[in-house]
Symmetry: C2
Subunit: 414 residues, 2 copies
């Protein structure tokens, strides 16, 4: 029997009514002769409420206890969904990450999934039950509860779908697909039928937060098709798959557009170090220290300083990590004999993403021209084969997205 994996986000299971609605959709799939595994997030704002409660108890929560606390949110929604299914006459069982065999690294709050031991899931599927699994969590070798980072339920879903060799992993959410840019910023943004993993990865990393980046990475490793779709409307969403598969599926037409989408990331901050003595190993030392503290560094720009063998470096981190990152950077800067460290959290990153950009060299310069035409100053630039990102002032972010969306004709995508 073919296995279907569904994932429902927090908004989709936010109320008892919505949970019953999800149960109805899941039951339909089961009744059509499939084995169904459902991964759920915590209801609505549960995780935030638990964190609020925590903040009233301590300023400095232990990561282990944090995981113990927040993992309860998914346990509640999983149990309720299993009950809702049973109430509709559909046999079901809920499993915690640990019971479902999700084994993670021994790193609290941000662990990666190491393995999925399928015995229990397979046993329950064989017994004719829909299996509801708590997203966002697993257990370590000691049996302690470990969460895999916020938004990690997407990753749980893809990993479980891959382990079960499912055809597709349906991720239900409160948007109905991937758009050329955020429709709240550009009302004429268009929904895309197909997006490649690489493009989605860039879009997700860059602030189009419909899907957790790690889930896309995981899907690309296992070549798992993700169908990102609405939990409210019964319409097709966006398929995230390999470029080869997109072409097979008849998505050739879209390759014509060099730029597939525009993303805005308002959750970043910029750090600069001046006059770092230009010796081998300096970058490794700085970014090694940041990585050791699990700080994600995104854009890195280094330029040789004109006066002598010194370099200026600049990089971006997530806003919540800024304070910690600055402290580490200042310490390393001192050790390296650099002149000073500055930081700025009043910035945004606007990015063009598209596989087609590889073969269309003029894209970046067209972007710079469009921005400067509207007096938007570019503070940092970073390019890869499928994207161009610019750091600009935070207050100009939305304007930049709107003008680029138009400049690259994305308002006219079929």
């Amino acid at each position: 029997m073919e296995v279907i994996v569904h994932k429902y986000g927090g908004t989709s299971v936010g109320t008892p009514d919505k949970i019953r609605n999800v149960a109805r959709r899941v039951k339909e799939v089961k009744d059509n002769g499939y084995e169904v595994v459902v991964i759920v997030s915590a209801m609505g704002h549960t995780t935030d409420e638990l964190i609020d409660l925590m903040n009233k108890v301590t300023d400095n929560p232990d990561p282990r206890e944090y995981d113990m606390l927040v993992s309860t949110g998914e346990q509640v929604s999983a149990a309720l969904l299993a009950m809702a299914l049973q109430a509709q006459g559909c046999p079901a069982v809920s499993l915690t990450g640990g019971q479902a065999g999700v084994v993670t690294e021994d790193i609290y709050k941000k662990a990666r999934i190491k393995d999925i031991k399928l015995d229990r899931i397979k046993k329950e599927l064989k017994a004719g039950k829909v299996v509801v699994v708590t997203g966002f969590q697993g257990v370590d070798s000691q049996g302690d509860i470990i969460t895999i980072g916020r938004g990690g339920s997407d990753t749980s879903a893809v990993a479980i779908a891959a382990a079960l060799h499912a055809q597709v992993c349906d991720i239900y959410t409160d948007v109905d697909g991937v758009y050329t840019t955020d429709p709240r910023i550009c009302p004429d943004a268009k929904k895309l039928k197909y997006v490649s993993y690489e493009e989605m990865l860039e879009l997700a990393s860059l602030g189009a937060q419909v899907l957790h980046p790690r889930s896309v990475e995981c899907a690309s490793i296992y070549n798992m098709v993700i169908h990102l779709r609405s939990s409210q409307k019964e319409i097709e969403g966006t398929y995230i798959m390999s470029p080869e598969r997109i072409i097979e599926e008849g998505g050739k037409m879209e390759k014509k557009e060099a730029v597939r989408g525009i993303a805005l990331d308002e959750n970043i901050a910029k750090i600069g170090i001046f006059k770092v003595p230009d010796k081998p190993g300096t970058a490794a030392r700085l970014f090694g220290a940041l990585a050791a503290d699990k700080i994600n560094v995104d854009m890195i720009v280094q330029s040789i300083h004109t006066a002598g063998s010194q370099a200026d470096m600049a990089f971006t981190v997530d806003k919540p990590d800024l304070k910690k990152a600055v402290a580490i950077t200042e310490k390393i800067a001192k050790e390296l004999g650099a002149e000073g460290v500055v930081s700025d959290s009043d910035v945004s990153k606007v990015s063009l993403v598209g596989i087609g950009m590889v073969s269309q060299p003029g894209t970046a310069s067209k972007m710079f021209a469009a921005l400067s035409g509207e007096k938007i100053n570019i503070q940092m630039i970073s390019t890869s084969e499928i994207k161009v990102s610019c750091i600009i002032k935070a207050e100009q972010g939305k304007q930049a997205v709107q003008l680029l969306h138009k400049a690259f004709g994305l308002d006219k995508v079929a």
Copy 2:
């Protein structure tokens, strides 16, 4: 190093402030050189809120999913208490029932604790940590979460204290001890310094709901002293121990009083069966069927009917079980050829409890006289060596307690 076991109920950990307060008390004990294990209930009304949520999803929840759902309440409070301890500089770790090695029977919602595998608790104590354990739950042989019935956190605490060979199990609650009767009914009720297991068991079973009966039973099996005390006021509460130990501790004086306390149980309902053919095995068949459905039957009264070899039987069950119990009783009554079944949920049970009653035969008749003197009609009577219970009309319950409290001089206990 000596181990101290504390248990804090839902009211005591009801808010972040209260959790910090509990942490302060626990840290004091730890700082005095003890190893400390703390068992916690869910915060305030969390369990009821989860059940409300559940009732909006289904009328007929699966017991397995019920346990999965409600067990999250204790996980939240345990994690928060561990964080609060850490914030006060006291190393701590929270453990779920499963992680703490609490193994139960494979019966959802009402399991008994089978075993406590102490490896993890001992390891954490050895590492110098306060161990916070979720009350009310364990895991079965399959690793599924099992709760042990409402109020079961008391039982968790006593079982863990017994397994650790603790000197005493301190149960902190929102009352400051055991009183001669409910002070809300009798303002002149007096706090008792010592109560024997048997008396406490009767008092708890009979509606003085300060302590879960099963926890007292468990304590009596392992001869574990329970110190029931206030989580708000730092004063001594009531010690629950064996009669021998009470005498050792200088509690002899209290043996003089035949009646130690008066309890009112308003959570009961009465079922009667008329003209049951008086054959061997009829009682076993009826009460066996009720027991098979986990319905607790309390008082049972049987009287030979005057006309022929037929008996009338009456018994009481917990109010929430009434509907189910009546259905079972009607089915069995039909099979047995009984004439009919009646039920009444508008009743209360008032009871006198005291070890001294064994040697004071006039107690029961004094009780009946006191009740009839105030025109309170007695519907059923049941006596044991240490208690006398009467079923009366619900509306007369409080009045009965007040007049008996006075009649037996409990308002004058030192």
